[in-house]
Symmetry: C2
Subunit: 757 residues, 2 copies
């Protein structure tokens, strides 16, 4: 293979470094109004009144729009991928501090911003609830009066019409008999782990611009899911899909913040109401109020035999979904079924609850819930190994799920190189060699973390390949290049099939009027799903070229160029060939009795991390010295890009492990800026190693599989396990701040910090 | 059929009347420079020097670019569809008054315009030649030192490298033996007919905007042939085609003025040289210097038997191509082979010469040369009928080419309803009824004209049909809707196949990055070629939907909606289906011996006109009282649009018959504005009737064929024949001005006007 496995420089690199790459933030269109949002100051309240008179009176203000105005235009203005629970602007109630309540439209964004300050709202306070476990209790304050599943997913239908509950999904998985398993175990351990609410921090905040046409609407958006947005906006408006166009240029990062509808419903409604193009661009602060990652509480209980086999495991996970469900119920379910980890356990019981609270909404964030789970089960797994006095690597090796064995859902494992990944990690970590334990106040330790993840299923991707008469190629896809290099990878696939250089392929991405349907650029699904679609489309084009060639007297085996075929066909350079491909993996529908599919994923992502840390026992400061990430990539289409993905994901998770935390005070985020919310800087990055394990994914394009999230899996528990290894304390809550480490150290020494005061 | 044959209101009508329809003239992009052109003031001259200093020194002028500057950037800056003879800006020589010599670029068009006035050029005068017959003589002044055919067309290759000639094509057709035919004839008549140079007058003048990207270029253009422009610009730049994108919104008329490269090479070169977007929009005046319709001289000689059969015909046609060939050689050839008319003549000899002169270039204009030919052969045919004392209708009926008979090229006639068209015209004209001959000074007469035309062949069109999960449809084509209603017709075809309403189809047209290759929107080829491609694409989508339906347990015959198929397939509304279609008609390549294909066209266009006129014998003024147009449309996809096309073409030809004429003085067009160049106004329009003859074109989509030019064919000779019928004089030169009629009347009376003075 000439194109696959080659580190092709990114096709868009030049455009980015020369500033030519297009972003929606730079887009202005004639007659465009800018919207600025007035947001709720209370966490839970009934709207008594909104006073927009002073704002309307300001010079240069075109309009001020509230939820009631929207409702006159769209009678049922609720949207969401899983639940139709989120109003375009708050209606009747506000459910979190920062919720969008009104919008000022003006030609000048500064005028709009100033007018927002002149709006006031009066709320009747309602009791709020912030904690996911508390919110799941029967007596909790209730965020939504009634549950409204979207009807998109069959397994949410049973929730329709439920009242007096914040539980937006109560996913259950039962495999074997955990009660009997615990009875048969030699040791039974139970722990509770927690993670914090964090934010995606794409450096390009969310932005959207809607342009009304003649019975049509064009939306330019920073969006990972153009096909979904088109469908959802068409649904809200009651229009056929073909009247709505969604265009997406490059994104400055997405990480799940830009999936499904974010600002698109709002700008669409506004643009159609005022008959002018409308653009809204969030500030970084506003992004904290828009979409976040679930805080979680995970109670995990395992029984092990003295020879080191995990006999039974119970998992109870509460996902703090915030005020609107977004895709949270799917996080609770799709990640929930892997809560017991990549281990071969006969008896598994999982309960996974998506819970509404009065926090900013939580949705998908790189890993789709899996990093929260791995944090818990891999911290717990280390404690199990310690409990029976076994090396944590050996303990994991003994329990890992091998190909051919059933995962807890009943899905038979296939092409999941769990053992190989673990072996490679051990090798890179020199696990069997002596390790410098540090000296004086600086103690060193090392730890591992291993995780796996299913791909979202069943989903579909389509692609078109257009071969011009000179043999040059344009590829049309709705996979969005948001920094992960998808344009380049897809060009490599098309080029390999067509036997041309990847650099010669032009990729047109992100236009629902142009490229076929794609479920979305999310969940590490694109390399596999879109990769297969591109391969099929290129093969279709190749077959059509071959047929054309044979037709004009250039039989197979002849040495001819593409332009010769067309010249022979048309007597001149003319014509082209269109190849189309559409891919959907096989999927077994949910079993009516168990409520579970036994073919949950088209491929498994496997990622492991190894960390070497140094703990300052006098300050609690943890320095990660070395961070090794290993993942099963199937076959790396572009090794450098693949390794960058792995390291990028690990650095992101490093931030969630050590620094990032949305601090809330009465529901108000108190650190919604990069001045106060620390993400890893260059000086925080340890020595990083990114290792790809090649283990062909037979169903993948040229053996490839998704990789964009695998680097997040093991990082947090590897660091916590390394800290435990260094200083004997166990941290159970993220982020691992120096203060918490010091408190734990001092508590372990019998002199808790609080006692001194 | 529910969609075909229905007068669907035009899909774009609302957008046009509400001002939302997009035109390139309205397009501005950030950083855009506007170019204004400095033009030659001499008809033929060697460039000694161009002084741009004063222009460059003006405030706000960004750059002044000459042909030499272009040549540094593009070493061989010559373009053209048939010959690579036209420099992007004049090089070494200028060849006509109005040729583009230099361009001023500025942010503000007014600054650019003012700076153009400050440019001066010094030329060494060369002898010019303006007349097509004179220019074809051996001793003529020579416009191009050497002929440079593009290599696109095999039958132009023999001209490569020829020197000392202005003949850019010397097409010959020999069928039977005309010398013997004349010997066997009872009467032999010979006449010479002439037509004038005219202009297309699209109300939207030609405009183009080029935006440089990162190794890519996007051209927004008022263009009928986006695929060709992409190919030609890529060739000039030495780039692969996929790096060039050509986008075309709606056009405000085209009529052949906007085929092939017009401003696109210029704006592309400028934009890449100055690294800024560059737009150039012609004024109406400048359009007269850009592309026109061939003036012609046609010597026609026929032999007839006394019983009314045409035994032999010789045609010698000189086409005044102006300074650059554009598509002129194809006009000379593709129309040339029909110069003997739609008659069954055993002995035919045609010589057709495309001739360079020092006039503004001539190219394609609605009818592609055929109206000039019909003008001559139908005037001549009337004179033949008169010579043998036969009714002109009866004479034509006796000689028309019937299906199954060979046309002069050897092509066997098929689906050409010549007889039916003539019959319908006779019926509409009430030919056999008594006719009011007028009274006093106002004399009335009536006349007929009948023509036929081949479609350009072989050419190809491609289409893509995208069916969304809700069943709504987007159709992607590079056929340009320039007023002829192609979007609507193509939507009807797709809708008929997919069993939905045409109004539910969204048409995306004019984007080479999006829609497949299409040869161009010209020569009335789109209904047939693109129509077939759209039908194939829709059938492909329909077959894929049926396969998908069967796959999910909805076998054929079941009553299901499209959205049900997708919901069953994906468990939710998701996915889509892509259908692709590509059409090329069968074609017999040119025979090496005769230099002629014997399968010259995929379908024949047949058009006839009948005119009733009133001549004021004291002033020579001709009033057309009634104009009946009849055409073979195969099957009318949209009857109202088809009839509008027929009448529109007839009105255009009415202007060329009675009013329009580019007046030249030493090569300078002296009436290059609508103040001086009269086109028909509302008050000039006679009673018009447009009659469609349905006569299935078996190879056409649902039996349809092209119709956009058929209304031009018979108008001019019908009027001249009617004048002859009214007052007994024969006009042999267009336009038929009152002055010329009066001169002819007075000459016939034996008191020529000149003698009075």
């Amino acid at each position: 293979m000439k194109q696959i496995g080659r580190t092709v420089p990114r096709l868009e690199a030049r455009a980015k470094v020369t500033g030519r790459a297009e972003y929606v933030h730079n887009l202005r269109v004639p007659g465009m109004l800018t919207g600025k949002i007035f947001r709720s100051t209370v966490a839970h309240g009934r709207i008594r009144s909104i006073d927009t008179n002073a704002a309307r009176a300001q010079d240069g203000v075109f309009a001020v729009i509230t939820g009631d105005d929207i409702k006159k235009f769209i009678p049922d203005p609720y949207y969401g991928p899983a639940f139709h629970d989120q109003p375009i602007l708050a209606l009747e109630k506000v459910r979190y501090v920062g919720e969008a309540v009104a919008v000022v439209l003006a030609d000048d964004p500064h005028i709009a911003e100033r007018a927002v300050q002149a709006i006031s709202a009066d709320y009747e306070d309602l009791p709020p609830v912030f904690d996911e476990v508390e919110a799941a209790q029967p007596k909790s304050a209730i965020v939504h009066d009634v549950l409204r599943p979207a009807g998109t997913f069959a397994d949410l239908k049973h929730l329709a019409g439920r009242r007096n509950t914040n539980v937006a999904l109560d996913y259950q998985l039962r495999h074997g008999d955990t009660a009997r398993g615990f009875d048969e175990s030699d040791h039974v351990l139970e722990h509770v782990f927690k993670t914090q609410q964090v934010m995606h921090t794409p450096l390009e905040p969310i932005v959207a611009l809607a342009e009304p046409g003649d019975g049509t609407l064009t939306i330019h958006s920073s969006c990972q899911t153009p096909s979904f947005v088109r469908m959802e906006i068409a649904r809200l408006l009651g229009w056929p899909e073909n009247k709505v166009t969604v265009k997406v240029p490059f994104l400055g990062g997405g990480f799940g913040a830009k999936v499904y509808v974010k600002l698109e419903a709002l700008v669409s409604a506004l643009a159609l109401m005022v008959r002018r193009p409308v653009k809204i661009a969030l500030t970084m602060e506003e992004q904290f109020y828009t979409i976040t990652k679930h805080a979680t509480t995970f109670r995990i209980k395992s029984g092990v035999s003295k020879n080191g086999r995990i006999v039974a495991r119970e998992c109870e996970v509460w996902w703090n979904g915030g005020a609107y469900a977004d895709i949270g119920p799917r996080v609770a379910q799709k990640s929930g079924f892997t809560a017991a980890g990549p281990y071969d356990i006969d008896n598994v019981r999982i309960d996974s609850y998506e819970v509404y609270t009065n926090r900013p909404p939580a949705g998908a964030l790189r890993g789709f819930g899996v990093p929260q789970l791995v944090w818990a089960y891999e911290s717990h797994t280390d404690l199990l190994a310690r409990a029976i006095g076994m090396d944590p690597l050996a303990f994991r090796r003994k329990n890992i799920l091998a190909d051919g064995r059933p995962q807890a859902t009943g899905t038979i494992m296939e092409d999941a190189a769990i053992g190989k990944v673990l072996d490679r990690l051990a090798e890179k970590m020199n696990w069997d060699a002596p390790f410098d334990r540090g000296k004086n106040r600086l103690k060193r330790g090392r730890g591992l973390g291993l995780g796996f993840k299913a791909s979202i299923s069943p989903t579909t991707s389509g692609a078109i390949v257009n071969v011009s008469a000179d043999g040059s190629v344009v590829l049309y896809i709705n996979t969005i290049d948001m920094g992960q290099g998808s344009d380049t990878a897809m060009a490599q696939i098309a080029a390999e099939v067509l036997d041309i250089a990847a650099e010669a392929v032009k990729v047109v991405h992100g236009d629902t009027d142009v490229a076929p349907y794609d479920m979305g650029t999310l969940g590490s699904r694109s390399t596999f799903h879109m990769g297969n679609a591109v391969k099929l489309a290129a093969e279709d084009a190749r077959a059509k070229l071959a047929a054309l060639a044979a037709d004009v007297g250039l039989p197979e085996g002849t040495n001819y160029s593409v332009s010769e075929i067309f010249k022979k066909r048309y007597g001149m350079q003319a014509g082209n060939v269109i190849g189309a491909g559409s891919y959907v993996p096989s999927y077994k529908p949910t079993d009516a009795k168990t409520g579970q599919s036994t073919n949950v994923t088209p491929f498994w992502m496997i990622g492991a991390a190894g960390a070497e840390v140094e703990v300052d026992t006098e300050t609690g400061h943890v320095r990660v010295m070395r961070l090794v990430n290993v993942a099963d990539c199937g076959k790396a289409l572009n090794p450098k890009v693949a390794r960058t993905q792995l390291s990028g994901a690990a650095i992101m998770q490093l931030g969630f492990t050590l620094y990032e935390n949305m601090e809330l005070d009465g529901g108000q985020v108190t650190n919604a800026s990069f001045a106060d919310y620390k993400i890893p800087g260059f000086r925080d990055i340890p020595i990083m190693e990114a290792e790809l394990v090649t283990a062909a994914q037979k169903s993948g394009p040229f053996g490839a599989k998704g990789l964009g999230e695998s680097g997040t899996f093991g990082v947090s528990p590897a660091i916590a396990n390394a800290i435990h290894d260094a200083v004997g304390i166990r941290i159970t809550e993220l982020p691992i701040k120096a203060e918490n480490v010091l408190r734990a150290l001092r508590a372990a020494e019998g002199r808790p910090i609080g006692d001194e005061e």
